[in-house]
Amino acid sequence: MTTAVRSRSQPFSPATARRGDAQQLRLSGLVPYALMGTLFGIVLVKSEVVSWYRIQEMFRFESFHMYGVLGSAFFTAFVSLQVLKRLKVRSRTGEPITVPPRSLGKGYRYWIGGSIFGIGWALSGACPGPLFALAGSGVTVYLMTAVTAILGTWTYGYLRPRLPH
């Protein structure tokens, strides 16, 4: 755990990236996240929010299901964050809990990136989390969706210096 704390207390800089810091990758420290992911995947599949059909229903405004899930998830997360903040709770690793603010800038990236993402979400019926849950649940062709999503991410990284943000 100590290595994990050190890696976070060091502000990110290209220098740390170049050093690689391979020893920071401690598999045992990753187990809690893998477990949380497993539970997350089960909830995503069992609530059907990974379903292409449910996404269609949402964009056609013909069911409350997705709105109910997203709305109550938002509400629970909002109340939890307020409680953590008021009680000044620290994380297991001893750090003060923070959600770093996002910078708005000119906002282009949110408008354009968001719209492109929305088109992809409606077509594929999956956002990044559900992609992996769907592939695991047996709709294996979603592995190809994951591959093209990685290609899309790489393309963004490549074009990034030329895109408005």
């Binding site: 899930v69 996002r102 990136g113 968001g114 409606a122």
Partner: protein, 186 residues
């Protein structure tokens, strides 16, 4: 218990559970719930090429993201094998609209078998939904700085304006795909 769990989980059970992942990940290691960071980490780890966006300490900062998505995959396996995959009982209107697009009137499984199979990859529909859809999800999530979980749950719950803008834009994009793109090409 297992029988109850095998039914589709209603929104008022699933939604709060999903919301609780935000404080849980913060408590475990000060991590913000969000999945699209894993795509960037996968790029940094797998795809060669010198691109500044991927030259970062992915092992130190986003390894947890990779563990999380590996877990999501496993969760999908467990959900399907132990609890069983359900076919969503969608509204009759949506079912008719999907049938009208020529994608079949039977709802079996989580995604239409006429599109989301390996064989259908060679059709216009399959390529558009599976391949192009995925590309746009990856490109848009990275460009927009987050996805449904990062913006829609973590970002909105911490009252961030960028996340509200992103969610509005995501919805506009989804409506455009549903009512303009799909009827045109299907």
């Amino acid at each position: 218990m297992l029988q109850w769990l095998s039914h589709p989980w209603p929104w008022y059970v699933a939604g709060p559970l999903i919301g609780l992942f935000v404080p849980a990940l913060l408590l475990i290691g000060n991590k913000q719930l969000g999945v699209s960071g894993s795509l960037r980490a996968l790029c940094a780890a797998v795809v060669p090429g010198k691109v500044e966006f991927f030259s970062y300490d992915w092992k130190g900062t986003t390894a947890w993201n990779l563990a999380f998505v590996a877990g999501i995959f496993l969760g999908g396996v467990i959900a399907a094998t132990v609890l069983g995959v359900t076919s969503p009982a969608i509204s009759a209107h949506t079912r008719d609209a999907i049938a009208g697009l020529g994608m079949g009137s039977q709802v079996t499984g989580l995604a239409p078998v006429s599109v989301f199979t390996w064989k259908a990859l060679l059709t216009l529909r399959g390529a558009t939904c599976v391949l192009l859809g995925g590309f746009l999800v990856g490109f848009g999530a990275s460009y927009g700085g987050g996805c449904t979980s990062g913006h829609g749950i973590t970002g909105l719950a911490s009252l961030q304006l960028p996340s509200l803008i992103a969610m509005i834009a995501i919805f506009v994009g989804g409506l455009f795909a549903t009512f303009v793109i799909m009827p045109l090409i299907f």
